[in-house]
């Protein structure tokens, strides 16, 4: 064990079965989730809706009790107050006290972490500025838009300058500019040596940020590792964009098993097999159409999640 760093987050065969209603109906939310997140990394928790991502996070945060398995945060058992002091959390679709202003929410959260009044105010003002809400700091949260609530949620998750930040669907509700800001903020956190666990279904953003990911399907971790290892390096398809294609050509290519999609005056053809690219391009030229672009596509994170989900099913 010597020489091994203490993981920022660890679960081993974690399982949770909810007992619901008067008749105590049992619902298995997660059956076997094993994760290990190292300090300083950005870790993506991925999977389809209902896979068990949020339940896993809720167990780790002490919101629900585990049925079996082990779970630790920053080397301490789940629920340990000392670990919670070093933790920041943004819940999915955050709900805060809507009678508070943005500034009041942050100073209230600072008090829960035992920060002095002066330190709490300093952190609050700093974070309000960082998430672009300085101008709305005195406004009651009930007047905030969804994107503003997401921003104040991120600010409250960082009020204690945490070592480990858990963000559940942080990009939901943000406009493209907000998403870009958040990506930059997460990159900043990485620069500061913090660990970020990111649960999201916006896979393009996770792909840009995460060092490693875990894919959860039907309550089980089906794969974990660095994106470079998990993603298939081979070209999985090639997109050919063609201008001036007649309807007959498009139909013939579609009948030939290729994906065909009309985009304005152009047609996008998706070719799965590498050996067929030349044949398709030759045919396009023969029919008098012109090739505008040829783009090889490697496996994306979205493809990977879809592949893993299908394999697990």
């Amino acid at each position: 064990m010597s020489g091994e760093s203490v993981p920022a987050l660890l679960t081993e065969h974690l399982a949770k079965t909810y007992v619901l209603g008067f008749f105590r109906r049992k619902v298995r939310a997660i059956t076997d989730v094993t994760l290990r997140v190292e300090p300083g990394e950005i870790f993506g928790l991925l999977g389809p809706n209902g896979a068990g991502k949020t339940t896993t996070l809720k167990v780790l945060l002490g919101l629900v009790r585990r049925s079996s398995g082990a779970a630790e945060l920053l080397g301490r058992p789940v629920g340990d107050i000392r670990a919670k002091r070093r933790l920041g959390y943004l819940p999915e679709s955050p709900y805060f006290y809507d009678y508070l202003t943005g500034r009041e929410l942050l100073t209230f959260m600072a008090k829960l972490f035992g920060l002095s009044r002066a330190e709490g105010r300093r952190r609050a003002e700093q974070l309000l500025g960082r998430v672009g809400l300085s101008g709305s700091a005195g406004l009651a949260l009930r007047r905030y838009s969804k994107g503003m609530l997401q921003r104040i949620g991120i600010a409250q998750a960082l009020i204690n300058d945490p070592e480990l930040v858990i963000l559940d669907e942080p990009l939901t509700g943000l406009d493209p500019l907000g998403r870009k800001d958040l990506r930059e903020l997460i990159a900043e956190l990485r620069g500061q040596g913090k660990t970020v666990v990111l649960s999201s279904h916006i896979l393009s953003d996770v792909e840009l940020l995460a060092d490693r990911v875990a894919i959860i399907v039907k309550g089980r971790t089906v794969n974990t590792g660095p994106l470079t290892e998990l993603l298939d390096a081979r070209v999985v398809s090639t997109e050919v964009v063609v201008a001036g294609a007649e309807e007959g050509l498009a139909s013939a290519l579609s009948d030939g098993g290729h994906g065909v999609q009309r985009i304005g005056d152009a047609v996008r053809i998706t070719i799965s097999g590498e050996g067929e690219i030349d044949a398709v391009i030759d045919r396009v030229r023969r029919e008098g159409a012109s090739v505008q672009s040829v783009t090889p596509r490697k496996e994306s994170l979205e493809d990977l999640v879809v592949r893993m989900t299908r394999e697990a099913e």
Binding site: L61, G62, L63, I81, P91, F96, L100
Partner: protein, 265 residues
């Protein structure tokens, strides 16, 4: 110290929520109307107007404080679950019992402030009538606060595992039974050898004896108790306070235990 500062932060936030809740102002307004309205009733009884104002005022203060305690108390924890605000608090360095107790203290600050406002109105009304302020009125108001403490703790207990509607019904039931404990004890004594007698006896042991707090008009070992005549001394008030603190502590311990076992799905 950290435990206390967390409790204080949660209490202050609960108080802030109550201060910004318009429904509470409506209830407080009605209570003030009842106290001021007692002036009109007092005018009907020329010789006894101050006496009637005091009786109606204190009864109004007690009733409205209990209504507010039940109304807010049963929603205190439930609303946090319903609105999912608890999701952002529990992952913070907060024990679940601190959350329950902090909410309770916040509610008690709110009720104490409301009682202070009602007291101020009652004193103004009595002053307008030129009535002398007897020593029994401050004792009675402190006893009302103790009674409200017990009712709030009972409401928080029920709301830790039940819906606001059912918690409201249960708490109101406890209030009605609690105010009738001496009568139920007498009835149980008459039928002590029956199953019903044993049941009533058990009920009076579990339910708080609220006549302990609302003593005016009661027949006790000291004789007839009245804010206008013989009234227990401050030693009695302190004993009643001890009973209220003990009962509220037990109710909150049970509420915290139930709350700590809950899953926030």
């Amino acid at each position: 110290m950290r435990v206390l500062s967390t409790l204080f932060a949660i209490s202050l936030n609960t108080f802030r929520e109550a201060v910004r809740n318009k429904v509470l102002y409506s209830l407080l307004f009605f209570a003030v109307v009842v106290i001021v309205g007692s002036l009109a009733f007092g005018a009907l009884s020329v010789a006894e107007e101050a006496r009637l104002t005091t009786d109606l005022g204190l009864a109004g203060m007690s009733l409205f404080s209990v209504i507010i305690a039940i109304f807010v108390g049963v929603n205190l924890v439930y609303k946090e679950l319903e609105r999912k605000t608890v999701y952002s608090i529990i992952p913070k360095p907060v024990h679940r019992y601190q959350f329950v107790v902090g909410k309770f203290f916040g509610m008690m600050i709110t009720l104490a402030v409301q009682l202070a406002v009602m007291t101020a109105v009652l004193l103004v009304v009595l002053g307008l009538q030129g009535a002398p302020l007897g020593g029994a009125v401050p004792k009675m108001i402190v006893l009302i606060l103790f009674e409200v403490m017990v009712v709030t703790a009972v409401a928080v207990f029920f709301s830790s595992f039940s819906t606001p509607f059912l918690s409201g019904l249960f708490t109101a039931g406890v209030f009605v039974v609690g105010r009738s404990v001496p009568d139920i004890q007498r009835a149980a004594g008459k039928i002590q050898h029956t199953g019903l007698g044993a049941l009533l006896k058990t009920v009076t042991r579990v339910v708080p004896d609220l006549r302990f707090f609302y003593v005016s008009g009661a027949e006790t070992a000291l004789g007839h108790v009245s804010v206008h005549g013989a009234f227990p001394d401050w030693g009695y008030v302190a004993t009643a306070g001890g009973y209220a603190v003990l009962y509220a502590t037990l109710a909150l311990m049970l509420a915290s235990l139930l709350f700590s076992r809950r899953d926030f799905v």
